[in-house]
């Protein structure tokens, strides 16, 4: 169960937060973006990343967490510094939806969610971390939260009951 009294730590778009022992990491309204939780159950260390684009290649932007590749790598480096170990990590991902339907614009922009999901999976595979659970694709936004005291990950989707990932 997610402890209601636990402190919520908000993760914005193109952002990442780490918490230890307690606290709920939350990122709101993942559309085509992907939320990635990485958790080390032995030391109760967790991170939540909110990426927006698949790869940093050629980007003029300075934000590492905007991109799947640089965002995941930087997070793993930081988790490592906090004592996290790759062989214990539990990784879950959510998001990558196609938000718009029914027009020329939907087609051109629609594949970004899919590409984000592919990139996250590829980077995780390269890092040797298995994605234990995922809820990606579809046409609706998701809010993702992780209770760092238990490692439990939940998703909120409009018009549906909260689900445990």
């Amino acid at each position: 169960m997610i402890n209601k009294n636990s402190k919520e730590i908000k993760v914005g778009i193109a952002d990442m937060k780490i918490a230890r022992q307690e606290g709920v990491l939350i990122t709101h309204a993942l559309g085509s973006c992907i939320g990635i939780t990485i958790y080390d159950p032995m030391i109760k260390l967790g991170a939540l990343i909110h990426i927006m684009l698949p790869e940093a290649t050629g980007a003029k932007s300075s934000s590492v967490y905007k991109f799947a590749d640089t965002g995941i790598k930087e997070t793993l480096r930081k988790l490592g510094a906090f004592g996290g170990r790759k062989n214990r990590y539990i990784c879950k991902i959510a998001g990558g939806a196609q938000m718009f339907a029914g027009g020329g614009a939907a087609g051109a922009l629609g594949h970004i969610g899919e590409r984000n999901a592919e990139s996250v999976k590829k980077v995780m595979q390269e890092e040797g971390i298995r994605i234990q659970k995922q809820d990606v694709g579809g046409t609706t936004a998701r809010t993702m939260l992780m209770d760092v005291s238990t490692g439990e990950v939940k998703l909120r989707i409009i018009g549906k009951p909260e689900i445990i990932l």
Binding site: G31, M99, G102, G103
Partner: protein
């Protein structure tokens, strides 16, 4: 010197954008009046350049449910435009056109969606045509796409489109006035950086000469 991001737009450039906004939304209001069969007026809009996360906080909560119409611009100006419809404005429109109101966004069916898409399309194409005329540049708009979902997830779409170039959005906020009602109206005008420079050169002048 050319502009590298939206936040480099100076006071004069923002004044020009506001002027365009005023003309664009003015003609959009006239076109909408004809569609809804009631007089619609629009206040002079404010132009705001906001970082992604600030933009969402400024427009409401990330989990607020809204409808949005998105079009892609091509030809001389490339990029995206988006019009946000909040529940109160959705009802103001549906009441006048279809004679019905909804309690939540799940009650939007094919007919309602089609009306809202058309409203967004009129809004955005009037706006684009005002810019096109003033700047003397061709702007072609795609068929409109619609989403009804969380605000954060919707805004992330144009953000991702611009994400390799900038971390900011350009918001054009004003009020639509229908009878005694006032509704917030938000248009996102998001040319890519190259098109933004072209636009500014045409409309303000001097951005290239300042080097």
């Amino acid at each position: 010197m050319s502009i590298k991001s939206y936040e480099e737009l100076d006071g004069m450039a923002l004044d020009v954008m506001r002027e365009i906004g005023s003309i664009g939304t003015g003609s959009a209001a006239t076109a909408l009046s004809a569609l809804v069969g009631d007089t619609i007026k629009m206040t002079v809009p404010e132009i705001q350049i906001k970082e992604f996360n600030d933009a969402i906080d400024h427009l409401g909560g990330p989990e607020d449910i809204v409808a949005a119409i998105l079009v892609q611009m091509s030809e001389d100006v490339k990029g995206t435009m988006l019009f946000l419809l909040r529940m109160d404005f959705v009802n103001a429109v549906l009441k006048r056109i279809l004679g019905k109101e909804i309690e939540n966004f799940f009650q939007l069916h094919e007919m309602e969606i089609s009306v809202l898409t058309e409203v967004g399309n009129i809004m955005l194409s009037s706006y684009a045509s005002a810019i096109s005329t003033l700047a003397g540049m061709d702007i072609h708009l795609s068929v409109p796409a619609i989403a009804v979902n969380m605000l954060g997830g919707i805004l992330a779409v144009p953000m991702a489109e611009l994400g390799y170039e900038t971390d900011q959005l350009m918001l054009i906020n004003g009020k639509l006035i229908l009878g005694n009602e006032k509704h917030d109206s938000t248009i996102l005008m998001l040319p890519d950086i190259e098109s933004l420079n072209k636009l500014m050169n045409k409309l303000v002048g001097g951005y290239d000469q300042q080097e």
